[in-house]
Amino acid sequence: MSKKRVVVAMSGGVDSSTALAVLKDRGYDCVGVSMQLWDYSKKEEASGATGGSCCSLDDIHDARSVADRLGVPFYVVNVEEAFSKEVVDYFVKGYLTGRTPNPCVKCNQVLKFEVLLKKALGLEADYLATGHYARIEKTPEGLRLLKGADPDKDQSYFLFTMTEDQLSRVLFPVGAMTKKEVREKARSLGVKTSEKKESQEICFVEEPSYTDFLSSRIEKRTGEIVSFDGQVLGAHTGLFNYTIGQRKGLGLSGGPFYVLDMDLPSNRLIVGPGDLLYSKGLVAGEINWINRGAKEKARAGLKADTKIRYRHPGAPSTVKLLEDGRVIVEFSEPQKSVTPGQAAVFYDKDEVLGGGWIEEAVKD
């Protein structure tokens, strides 16, 4: 029988490099692939910089070195168009509509598990592998998406849009490992990237901050900062410069004031004391159910832990499915800074049951 072929999505970082090494050890016929997200020539000409912290030319070079060292064929595929349309535009549009978007979820959803997966299948691959910290489990009821074994590194939150079909074609080779194990494996292989710094910020924003990135793409509209009870307290520099729960950088005397909400039609930033940041629930849309049983249960109210941002520990809650496919999540304890545009992901212990995009916070 011929070996199963896997296309490994390589960012040049430790995790995907190790994913490749692990699969090679297991005897797969591996092909390394990096995605080109930008037209680097234009970018370098314009700014003299070399892209953000992910998928830059240097990263592609690192990925190529790792593949070469492991004797694996390596390709770079051009996904500029999809990236610009599906991720960057989404990101900018999110801020334009007063949300705090999550481009990493979108990038996984569209670029990795649609565009790249399709390219992999075109190369006669049986699977696409990535360096995500998450696990896939086969059960009699179907495939399940689980948290990564390393609780500090779990990335299942970013994967809630995956379909069962995608899960059947995807491998997460480092999902069962801890970051420490991954680094050790990388080091034992002499992988050049084993000491590489973690990518933290939004990968494609290489300007000093995301607000600089947006400033060059969105017209700046200054407006009023208003307290929750209607008093004008000051002026803001454009709504996209702020996020829910933010305290620093408001330039107000008195307080402390926190960003509670954004009123798009009146272009006002609503602030107030910290205790008003808490919400007892949320409404989320574009729900993807990975566990279909959970969806059925949600019609009557599903007990689940809901994560409302990547670093959120998850809060006990009841998830109720509405007629139109959206859900209302009611927390057992009020949660701080529910932010429209971020994802709400429902867990049963380690299992991702499903998730959706937060549309609004429910305060009372």
């Binding site: 592609i60 770079v76 399709k118 299948l121």
Partner: protein, 389 residues
């Protein structure tokens, strides 16, 4: 796995006789050709012999040939050299939309320096309209630069006619002949070209070598200032081994040209006929007759060229599409877009550029493996499902 090379417009392998000719100049003959002593004499004469070999390929005089480091350098030297030399006479340059980046980006740079550039359109066969060229010439036009043969489609431009127009209007004419040299006969004495750029590694010579033909009397501002090398036109101690290799390659190209043209045409026609019989929804891009004998650019509808190329590579076949980005991935072809191809069709194009060592058996192997690859990719395309039903 069989390795098959169908990417000769990207580069060619160094011929054995070229390699053998170069070896002494990498080892025993290391003298500086500018030196007056025995060491210099050991390289000066062979270098001038090599110059004559290249001149024979282009039918020009030795003093009209400047050795360069690449085709790109030749293009830069010709275009900037004329622009700066004739600045007082005008600031207008005419070129086409389908030039190689070595020409396009040099022109774009000159635009930033205050020059005006007209980029002529091409028709669906990749041809320019000579009337449009005539109409574009103004009293300020100092340079026309049009490629001899297009690297992606192989389309041959009417160089003689353009040269006649340029001469009549008193405009300097440069042609980037990097893809044509060695593949089709080039006679500078019959063409009215003032400047012509070629490259060594496209004609089975070494990389890092090129040459610029500059007609006697054409005044150029040097690109690289330095010593008196190349008659004060290009500073820098000569790449002696590279020059010897390029000379040998030019000699072989001239000697074998008629036979090679027949060989390549036979293979190309077999490829295109066979592909049309086996794979539906394809289109051969570029003018059907006026093109290089070795180049076949085919659009496969409903398929991404990049994915096709990767699949071919995994079966040992090297082909190409568009030009490569710095990262090694592909960018959409400005040439095919200029031909009026839709984004989809230009994305789905593959360039097969054949060479000396290719065989009928290799073409047949390609024809055998291509249909299932294309079919598999199309089966994943929603557009194809729609077109079939």
């Amino acid at each position: 796995m069989n390795k098959i090379y169908f990417d000769h417009n990207a580069t060619t392998p160094v011929l054995n006789e070229v390699f053998e000719a170069m070896v002494p100049y990498l080892k025993d003959q290391w003298g500086n050709p500018s030196s007056i002593h025995w060491a210099g004499r050991g390289t000066k004469k062979p270098m001038e012999d090599a110059r004559e070999q290249v001149c024979k390929l282009l039918n020009c005089a030795p003093l009209e040939l400047i050795f360069t480091s690449s085709g790109t350098e030749g293009d830069n030297h010709a275009i900037k050299g004329i622009a700066y030399a004739k600045k007082a006479l005008g600031n207008h340059i005419i070129t086409t939309k389908v030039e190689h980046p070595a020409v396009l980006n040099t022109c774009k740079y000159l635009q930033k320096e205050g020059f005006d550039v007209t980029y002529l359109d091409v028709d669906s066969g990749g041809m320019i309209d000579l009337e449009a060229l005539k109409a574009a010439i103004t009293p300020k036009t100092i340079l026309i630069t049009v490629m001899y043969a297009n690297n992606e489609t192989g389309v041959l431009f009417p160089i003689k006619e353009i040269g006649d127009i340029a001469k009549e209007r008193g405009v300097t004419f440069h042609t980037d002949a990097v893809q044509a040299a060695g593949k089709v006969p080039i006679d500078t004495q019959k063409l009215n070209v003032d400047l012509l750029t070629i490259s060594g590694h496209k004609l089975y010579g070494p990389k890092g070598m090129g040459a610029l033909y500059a007609k006697r009397g054409v005044r150029l501002v040097p690109l690289i200032h330095g010593g008196h090398h190349e008659r004060n036109r290009r500073g820098g101690t000569e790449n002696v081994a590279g020059i010897i290799g390029m000379g040998k390659a030019a000699e072989v190209a001239l000697k074998d040209m008629d036979r090679e043209i027949e060989h390549l045409k036979t293979l190309r026609d077999r490829l295109e006929k066979g592909m049309a019989e086996r794979v539906p929804h394809i289109k051969v891009n570029g003018h059907p007759e006026k093109r290089l004998p070795n180049t076949s650019n085919i659009s496969f509808e409903f398929v991404e060229g990049e994915s096709l190329l990767l699949s071919l590579d995994m079966k040992g076949i090297a082909a190409s599409s568009g030009s490569a980005c710095t990262s090694g991935s592909l960018e959409p072809s400005h040439v095919l877009l200029a031909l009026g191809l839709s984004h989809e069709m230009s994305h789905g194009s593959v360039r097969f550029s054949l060479g000396k060592s290719n065989t009928v058996g290799e073409i047949d192997y390609l024809l055998e493996i291509m249909p299932p690859i294309v079919e598999r990719m199309r089966s994943m395309s929603p557009l194809y499902a729609g077109a079939k039903s």
